[in-house]
């Protein structure tokens, strides 16, 4: 039989109906038995007992009559005897014979046969007495009387036996009646029990049937309903495959397959979403509309993605060629995402290392302030960030110029949450730009010098010309000889100064005309000794103390004439502008240029304890032409101008530290 639910239910109901039929049949049987018993009792047993009782009475009466009549015959007794013998007793016998045909108990029939025999002998004896006594003479006949007497005694004996026999038969009959009643009562009890059992059975089977329905039908159906409702709401949970072979099992398996199909599609769609376009996907059937749509969507997306990748590839290539990288910086995370080119520029390649801190650590120290300030400003004011700075490439340590631009993205409160921007490696253009700037700077410098020169020429030459002219005019106008002599002296002085100025100008023109100056390795100590020798008069004149810490092996790459000029001017200045009353002391040092500035290899330092210069007042014109700062007759305002020019020409620079009354330190940076 099929294991279907309908089958199971049918079996349950069949069991109930069958048990009801069994109970009904038993019921009918008991009713039938009871009715039959009752009928038997009414039709046979009760009348039989009544007839037996009648016979018993009649027989006792017969005994009494036959006895009494034998002693005193009378008409009334005779009539009674006749009625008994001819009507009542034969009637009883016939009725009993009829009833006894229905009797089933053999002992009863045997007992009845005995009763019949006694009855017959009694009747025969009574009839014998009657026939004896009917003769008139018989009364006198002693013999006859004796015969009667014997007969009466026999009758008495027989009837008393008969009476006992009937009594016992009545007792048997009554007992059988009781037995029959007890049997019916037993059957009735059985009926009650049977009915109770049937009811209990029906209730039990019903309960089990309901339980079964609930567990095996209602609950699984509810579970399935839940799954379907969840699916209707868009949730998808896998349903296990059922081992049941019935309708619910089949429904569950169908749903399981359906959900599995949906899950597979979800997985497929998710993979499409993640960009995995090469995933295999098996359609559920030819009619799988959703599957077909998904596959076609996947194909379209793959095509679009391919085009996008192509575009992206070109963009990346373009960025690589242009050396432009892009970045996306999230302020809260402090980390950035970047393109390959940006990673190449910075040298930071590990995702975990892409933090703003690491990026900033690559910025060269001299640019840090600039970058931080600009970044802070850009984020605070929500402005475009655009800066050019130098970095140490991570790993290689190479110095690279970068141009970084960043645009802010703000949240609803206007706070900057992220920055998107570009970084370009501009080392090539920057180098060119710097070279250009340098050329421009040199050109400007030269231009400045040129205009300075024309200024000097106009100023100094005119000054002397004006003076000579003025003196000549006064000479013309003056009448006193004393005045004339004075004017003439001044004219001589003015002429001398004009000549001196012309020499200076010659010197400067000669120097400025030289474009390329020879540079050779020079022993610094030797050149210092040479200079000190040349300044011997001044040194001894002022009792100056010269201390040189320059070793015998110190070497500089310089133009010999320039080195001599620089040493002569700086040392002579140090002696010349001594502090009144203080013994001049000049300390010469030579040491390697440390720090980050790698443009210079060493520094020549000349320190004095002289007058000092008010840097606030004169700092800006210290190296100008014809600038003098002390009221000193030997100050010509040319020395430092030349020194500066010569140091510049050697690719170096000069720095001054000074405090009025405390002395001056000149630092000459040598390339």
């Amino acid at each position: 039989m099929n294991k279907s639910i309908a089958g199971k239910l049918l079996r349950t109901y069949l069991t109930i109906i069958l048990s009801m039929i069994v109970a009904g049949i038993f019921c009918l049987y008991v009713l039938h038995m009871s009715r039959a018993g009752n009928e038997e009792m009414v039709k046979n047993n009760l009348p039989s007992i009544d007839e037996l009782k009648l016979m018993k009475g009649d027989m006792l009466e017969l005994k009494k009559l036959s006895n009494s009549w034998a002693f005193a015959p009378n008409k009334r007794d005779k009539e009674r005897l006749d009625v008994l013998l001819q009507n009542e007793l034969p009637g009883i016998k016939i009725r009993l014979q009829l009833l006894s045909t229905q009797w089933k108990n053999n002992s009863e029939i045997v007992a009845l046969d005995k009763i019949y025999a006694q009855y017959d002998s009694t009747i025969a004896a009574v009839n014998n007495i009657i026939s004896i006594l009917t003769n008139d003479y018989a009364v006198a006949n002693e013999q006859a009387m004796e015969k009667v007497d014997v007969l009466n005694r026999t009758i008495a004996k027989t009837i008393s036996a008969n009476d006992k026999q009937i009594g016992s038969l009545i007792t048997i009959k009554q007992e059988s009646l009781i037995q029959q009643q007890e049997h019916i009562a037993y059957l009735m009890r059985m009926l009650y029990i049977m009915l109770s059992c049937t009811m209990v059975l029906i209730i039990t089977v019903s309960i089990f049937s309901l339980r079964y329905s609930e567990n095996k039908i209602a609950k699984p159906l509810l579970e399935l309903q839940k799954s379907i409702l969840m699916m209707a709401q868009g949730q998808v949970l896998p349903v296990t495959v059922s081992k049941r072979n019935d309708e619910i099992g089949q429904i569950q398996n169908a749903i399981s397959i359906m959900i599995e199909g949906v899950l597979e599609k979800i997985h497929f769609a998710e993979n499409i979403g993640k960009g995995h376009y090469d995933q295999e996907f098996a359609l559920l059937s030819e009619q799988d509309k959703l599957g077909t749509s998904l596959v076609s969507m996947r194909n379209n997306l793959a095509k679009a993605n391919h085009a996008l990748l192509e575009q992206e590839h070109r963009l990346i290539e373009a960025q690589r060629i242009a050396r432009i990288g892009n970045f996306y910086y999230q302020v809260a995370e402090e980390s950035y995402q970047s393109s390959e080119t940006l990673d190449e520029i910075l040298g930071i390649r590990e995702e975990g290392d892409k933090t703003m801190q690491n990026w900033m650590s690559l910025v060269l120290p001299e640019f840090k302030e600039q970058v931080f300030t600009a970044a802070k400003h850009a984020i605070k004011e929500n402005k475009l960030f655009s800066e050019q700075y130098k970095i140490h490439q991570y790993g290689t340590g190479k110095e690279i110029w970068v141009a970084v631009k960043g645009e802010n993205n703000v949240d609803e409160h206007g706070r900057v949450v992220s920055v998107f921007g570009t970084m370009q490696d501009i080392s090539e253009t920057k180098t060119l730009e710097l070279e250009l700037n340098n050329s421009y700077h040199i050109a400007t410098e030269q231009n400045k010098r040129l205009s300075n020169f024309s200024y000097i020429v106009s100023h100094n030459l005119r000054m002397h010309a004006v003076n000579i002219q003025g003196l000549l005019k006064l000479y013309q106008q003056s009448t006193k000889e004393k005045d004339k002599a004075e004017i003439f002296d001044l004219l001589l002085t003015a002429g001398g100064r004009l000549d001196e100025t012309m020499h200076h100008l010659n010197e400067i023109i000669a120097m400025q005309g030289t474009l390329k100056v020879e540079v050779v390795a020079l022993n610094l100590e030797k050149h210092i000794a040479h200079t000190l020798n040349a300044l011997n008069v001044q040194i001894s004149g002022k009792d100056a103390k010269i201390i040189s810490h320059v070793g015998p092996t110190a070497t500089v790459n310089y133009n010999p004439a320039y080195l001599d000029s620089v040493l002569l001017n700086l040392i002579s200045n140090a002696i010349k502008y001594s502090y009144p009353g203080r013994r001049p002391e000049v300390v010469i040092d030579f040491y390697a240029a440390g720090g980050s500035d790698t443009n210079y290899s060493s520094i020549l330092q000349v320190r004095d304890n002289g007058l000092g210069i008010d840097m606030k007042l004169h700092g800006h014109k210290l190296f100008g032409m014809y600038k003098t700062f002390h009221k000193n007759p030997d100050a010509k305002g040319l020395g430092l101008f030349l020194v500066k020019y010569q140091i510049d020409a050697m690719g170096g620079k000069i720095e001054v530290e000074s405090e009025p009354n405390n002395g001056t330190t000149f630092k000459v940076y040598i390339k």
């Binding site: 200024y455 106009s458 100023h459 100094n460 005119r462 000054m463 004006v466 003076n467 002219q469 003025g470 003196l471 006064l474 106008q477 003056s478 005045d483 004075e486 001044l490 002085t493 003015a494 007042l617 014809y626 003098t628 700062f629 002390h630 009221k631 000193n632 100050a635 305002g637």
Partner: protein, 133 residues
């Protein structure tokens, strides 16, 4: 009595200007200073002794210690209303236009004169000073 001050480190120019002023009017008292520093000291002592200030000042630009520009800055700080009391004439051999523009930018500078100072300018200045036509 009229008083003028010549500030110039060029002794020859000092001598020439002094002689030319004396030739125009020999009653004028002529003071000289070699640089801005000396001139400031002179002004300070005159203020301290409550002497009359010079009505006219001729000042050169290129001088040691304190040059003409620094003098102008200093004197403006020392005597804020100096423009009402003293006529300052900046004298220079420079024909560079920058210096002239810069000098006339000072409120206290009355005029910019190119050395040597033209006769008519000097005569006019001295006449303005002494009141003679």
């Amino acid at each position: 009595m009229s008083k003028v001050l010549i500030i110039d480190d060029d002794k020859i120019f000092q001598f020439i200007l002094k002689k030319r002023i004396e030739n125009i009017n020999d009653s004028i008292e002529i003071l000289t200073a070699e640089n801005g520093h000396e001139a400031i000291a002179l002004f300070e002592s005159m203020l301290a002794e409550q002497q009359p200030l010079p009505q006219d000042v001729f000042i050169d630009l290129n001088m040691p210690v304190i040059d003409g520009w620094q003098f102008l800055d200093e004197i403006e700080k020392l005597i804020p209303d100096i423009a009402n009391k003293v006529n300052i004439y900046v004298c220079s051999t420079s024909i560079a236009p920058d210096d002239k523009v810069r000098a006339l930018g000072y409120n206290i500078v009355k005029d910019f004169l190119i050395k040597d100072i033209a006769d008519e300018d000097l005569v006019r200045i001295i006449y303005e000073l002494t009141g003679k036509a």
